[in-house]
Symmetry: C2
Subunit: 472 residues, 2 copies
Amino acid sequence: MNIAGMINPEQLQFFLGLLQLEQVKISEEERLDYASDETENYVFPADVVLLPNNTNEIASILKYCNAEKIPVTALGALTGLSGGALCVHGGVGLSLERLNKIISIDENNGQVIVEPAVITQVLQEECAKKGWYYAPDPASRGSCSIGGNLAENSGGPHAVKYGVTKDFVLNLEVVLANGEVIWTGANTLKNSTGYNLTQLMVGSEGTLGIITKAVLKLVPLPPFNKLLLAPFPSAENACAAVSAIFRAGITPSALEFMERDAIAFTLQFVDDVQVDLNGVEAHLLIEVDGTDESSLMLECEKILAVLEKFEAGEVLFAEDHEQKEKLWKVRRKVGEAVKSHSIYKEEDTVVPRFELPVLLRGVKEIGSRYGFQSVCYGHAGDGNLHVNILKGQLTDEQWSQELPKAIKEIFELVVSLNGTLSGEHGIGFVQKEYMPIAFNEIQLNLMKQIKQVFDPNGILNPGKIFPSSHSI
Amino acid sequence: MNIAGMINPEQLQFFLGLLQLEQVKISEEERLDYASDETENYVFPADVVLLPNNTNEIASILKYCNAEKIPVTALGALTGLSGGALCVHGGVGLSLERLNKIISIDENNGQVIVEPAVITQVLQEECAKKGWYYAPDPASRGSCSIGGNLAENSGGPHAVKYGVTKDFVLNLEVVLANGEVIWTGANTLKNSTGYNLTQLMVGSEGTLGIITKAVLKLVPLPPFNKLLLAPFPSAENACAAVSAIFRAGITPSALEFMERDAIAFTLQFVDDVQVDLNGVEAHLLIEVDGTDESSLMLECEKILAVLEKFEAGEVLFAEDHEQKEKLWKVRRKVGEAVKSHSIYKEEDTVVPRFELPVLLRGVKEIGSRYGFQSVCYGHAGDGNLHVNILKGQLTDEQWSQELPKAIKEIFELVVSLNGTLSGEHGIGFVQKEYMPIAFNEIQLNLMKQIKQVFDPNGILNPGKIFPSSHSI
């Protein structure tokens, strides 16, 4: 047997008594399967990985772990980008993979009840078959799960019109640290009944409870959309056009920014798309959607007028579904392409959207001082810029010792622009030491005390969100 | 001097030293001016009403009151419908009326920074002048203030498309019970950085802190809308049509339900509108809005097709701005009209929208058993039904002893339909004893512990939200 130090044989015996043998993963090989997410190259195996079948089993596991003070980290699809699911303190890795059912799609109310391991794209497709739309769609939507989306309050391209995960959550079934099970609210669109436990849980990264069911709202599926790709002679022009599109009265259903290199890297991975990068420093990918095609054409005309003012080059209109898919593929593959290009770190900066050009300029200036290359892209309509920092020619020492100072400068800039550290990836493990840039002691202490209300023994996902000086 | 028992002369001296004389209201007459909101006929004067000029003064007041354990109840425009601003434990009534500035309208980012006493309609009009839209619009929007809207998480007719107050809040400046001042988040559309203190504060009814500034998001002002009024031969048909409109792919910008009596009472107050009530048991007031007039006409056609299926009578299309205003006036005056008709109680029930016909039938059945008449109307698209219970011929004893049992039955029905006690009015003083219908001990204890984190001495708006068995 290959259990690390933290779980003793008696504790293991409890899990083996509670669950079937195949629900308890103890070999090193199995534990390594659950030891990494998509965050850089971290590997933190749990001492034991448990695969409960249902809420009751989770409740029993948590009740026991709480009494025994064993760390419990919820594991979803392991696509996270802030290390939220890394078992940094060992203990139990609680994989929710068996809670993977869409329990009901309520067509009359436009609501769905899902378990956490449902893949986001699967949910979207099942809803679409019935004419309903679940909008939050991280780039990883084909592999990420709703539970992870809830934990990190994930966004995606369509958040700019429809909102992020939190805006689609009505009610959550949650197993608390002591094994008690609650619902956080009601299955209603409006709710002014007591404190908003639902919104407290969303984005809390598995540190306040384990979400076992979610009631999500749906909106009518917009039957039409138009997609266009606009090249710009400068990245700043592209960023500046973003705010102007809203000023023209348009709320696009997506408004994505890609720096030249973001597309250049990606084109190496995508065979069937050509994008002319000659004289182009950045692109905006712009989508509008709605119930009437002719009104979308009018919106596109207004957008084109804005783009012209910011010296956009020839705008590519996606002509059919296939071409739209190709353009979206380019956008969705950027993260992966950058990752394959070099060791990298990704910062999930977010600012008020008009500040994007200032942020971009600042990132480049900081990069030039510290000697790193960055590739920037993201959800420009929301002011959410993913800053991918490439290791490139940096020495290991520069990477580990100097870069954190540069990242601190980036975040200080972000906060000075009224922005914050993460728009949709969460703080998790890799950003927690930067939290004091966004929050002072008073704010951090409030959060810490809330954590203590929900999890007095600190068993739930320890080592996340809070900086070392506040670690629980 | 006319101070009630709770504030002693030394304490009063502190307030007089901190503030100008005209900021300290101590006469009975002055205190009575602040002693009631729009909830039934309650009168609870504070021992002293303070009118601070700014955040600093509020911080000093709270620091002192926290040390002295003096209750502090924030007072806004006093238009609340759940008694949230009643000073039921006396102490300090903290009127925020002097914090009444729109600090900035940021046209580039589509954001506004406001102080709490800004009147909701004033904010809407100022934003509209610049092409931006702040959507939450309670019926009292001409007299209610943003601070109260934040405290109660207010909705209004346009919430069905645009969301309630919480959906427009990005960041809040809050004075904590101990006088410390924090911002809850960042001025960004997306935020996955620590626990969502912003959403915890919204709807907490002044029990967790005093909101002194709010950063609110705006959306582009939709230039066109269409408004139609549809009569139905039965209230249940009208309710059933609501869900069908969404099923037809339409998200209306308003979808209001009014029972026959709701309009009949109101027409007595509104001279310049005629509505034929012959054979009509209910109306739906339906609005769509957008950027293109012709596409709205298409949506209206789809809506008409749905209405026909549910046996709607002749639909009135508002022809111009004036006619639209008249129809909205009828809707907005319903509450006032019912209030003038009889002593009444208003329940702010909310259910998934397809359950509306079941709820309405249940309310009438409960009414017939307990012998009360009810007038129902509300935001049907959100499943938010205002149930106005008229005293009518009920004896005082029936009203005070029997009616609470009937209300309990109504709320039990609501909860059995996956709904909850309040959609937009809050729990405040008058609904708190019903909280155990919606929440069990585990949930209530979590909320109570959160309260204790923010307000360990229990000075902020005591006697609200929590039932007596949990009172803080």
